[in-house]
Symmetry: C2
Subunit: 336 residues, 2 copies
Amino acid sequence: MTSTTSREWHLAHRPHGEPVPGDFRMETVQVPAPVTGEVLVRNTFLSVDPYMRGRMNDVPSYVSPFQLDQPLTGGALGEVIASEYDGLAVGDLVLHEYGWREYASGPGTRFRRVTPVPGVSPSAHLGVLGMIGLTAYAGLLDVARMQPGEIVFVSGAAGAVGSMVGQIAKLKGASRVIGSAGSKAKVDLLVSKFGYDAAFNYHDGSVNRQLRAAAPDGIDVYFDNVGGDHLEAAIFAFRTFGRAAICGAISSYNSTEPPSAPRNLSLIIGKGVSLTGFLVNHHRNRAAAAAAEIGGWLTSGKLVYQETVVDGVENTPAAFLDMLRGANIGKMVVAL
Amino acid sequence: MTSTTSREWHLAHRPHGEPVPGDFRMETVQVPAPVTGEVLVRNTFLSVDPYMRGRMNDVPSYVSPFQLDQPLTGGALGEVIASEYDGLAVGDLVLHEYGWREYASGPGTRFRRVTPVPGVSPSAHLGVLGMIGLTAYAGLLDVARMQPGEIVFVSGAAGAVGSMVGQIAKLKGASRVIGSAGSKAKVDLLVSKFGYDAAFNYHDGSVNRQLRAAAPDGIDVYFDNVGGDHLEAAIFAFRTFGRAAICGAISSYNSTEPPSAPRNLSLIIGKGVSLTGFLVNHHRNRAAAAAAEIGGWLTSGKLVYQETVVDGVENTPAAFLDMLRGANIGKMVVAL
């Protein structure tokens, strides 16, 4: 076997504020045939996720910044097409981090075989059956420690994680689940499809007032994907001993100024409220439990999921930009 | 028995920003003799505490606002001088909430008898043996869940609560305890008397830089009495899974604008950090355990405490204002 021609995306410029298409550059490269211990994978689905925006800044964070003029990375699913690694065979479906490209090669240990689930798109391994499902599950149950009978608020509720959180909350006995999203179509879906009891469009007015109307008795748990006004509104709405799982702050990812903190943070004292940040990586030990329970819900039809699928490796940056703008419902993936 | 002449402090004006002496007015009143079920108490010590500042605003909070032209209230210690209540006898030492006055009367159930501890001033029941000790104990061990070997940072470290927290942290196995305070004299005392391994004066420069110098390996626990820049610096300094117990935010109690810090709140996501507010009232169930353990440390000389004592009911507002400005070391009390 000789080398394989592959298109891959490089970071051409570090975005200032909202990224633009010119920040990305597609390169055509030759991927060499695998040597001993390596595999060659043809990617079938690429993941685009909010956290990638942070890696485009030249700021040390919990994950290192992307390098300029180097291929971008991210979650991807593919099929092994050549293997010099004993643990993987041609035809295996594998999950890995060499995204933003058509073909990936590397040490076999960097690729994890996944088992196809009948009736479920393989891309679900990038979402509900993978990191997204674990994020929703561990954030709600382990970080926010949601208890049956509690009132739950989720921001970014129509996104990849949010559309899972509301359903898991109801399956685990939440008495009421409220979601916010950025369009009427999303708000309608939250109630009609994703099990939310109430939902509002944050473009329609003050988040604080809309949350108060949707949760007149207050909230016990807040699953935060947005930050900013949403977190402030949740702090106002919290009942005693309320808990926030802080998963993301997409409202500020493109900010060029530090966000002003929730101006009502001191209210957490009197209410005994906790705000806890987390990464899905902190909860790897729950992956098996989450996959088992979520898989069961999927099979039995108790949990539904939706994806927004964009076709073609050439459209990966556009999918990423659309996702940051909230154009997706559920997980955004690129199908190759 | 006829009525008793008593001086008591009323709230004359709601302070705007830093309170001024004219916000308080001393009244001379007649306290009636107790009727059935009541007691009359001569106060010997009055407590002045940071939380009282919040009650002077006309803002609903976890405790209701003080009423204008009504007597202020707060922790006090006194001696029963007349009793029509079976549960208390003349001569009993009692703890209660009718502070800011010389004599208090009311239902016997509102007064709790305390046992004098040999060698310890009765005023310690307003401090280390009472709510202050419980605040430090529960905040550090239950809210921040400090573990042996961890690095602890305490702001307002020379205050009533802070001077306890550092010592309890060391007694419970903290590997390093760092405190901040507002004067060189306090900083010296933190290290020489209150068991701190390192301390700095926040007037000497950036809290963030001074904390980084004192805790080059970062911190695991932050006990926050101050808020603002201190909380922001702690968030920068936190290691993975750091925990803040948010006890108070004295830096903002006189603010007329919402505080802007911490601007780095989103860092809690990658670090898996939690910020948890609390009131001592949330931890009443730990009072017996705290009193037993703290009492033992006091008796064995393992834990020391200091009070700042102001004489005379007429100086209660001055004591309160001085405490807000940080003039006290340890608990500030008024002796009558």
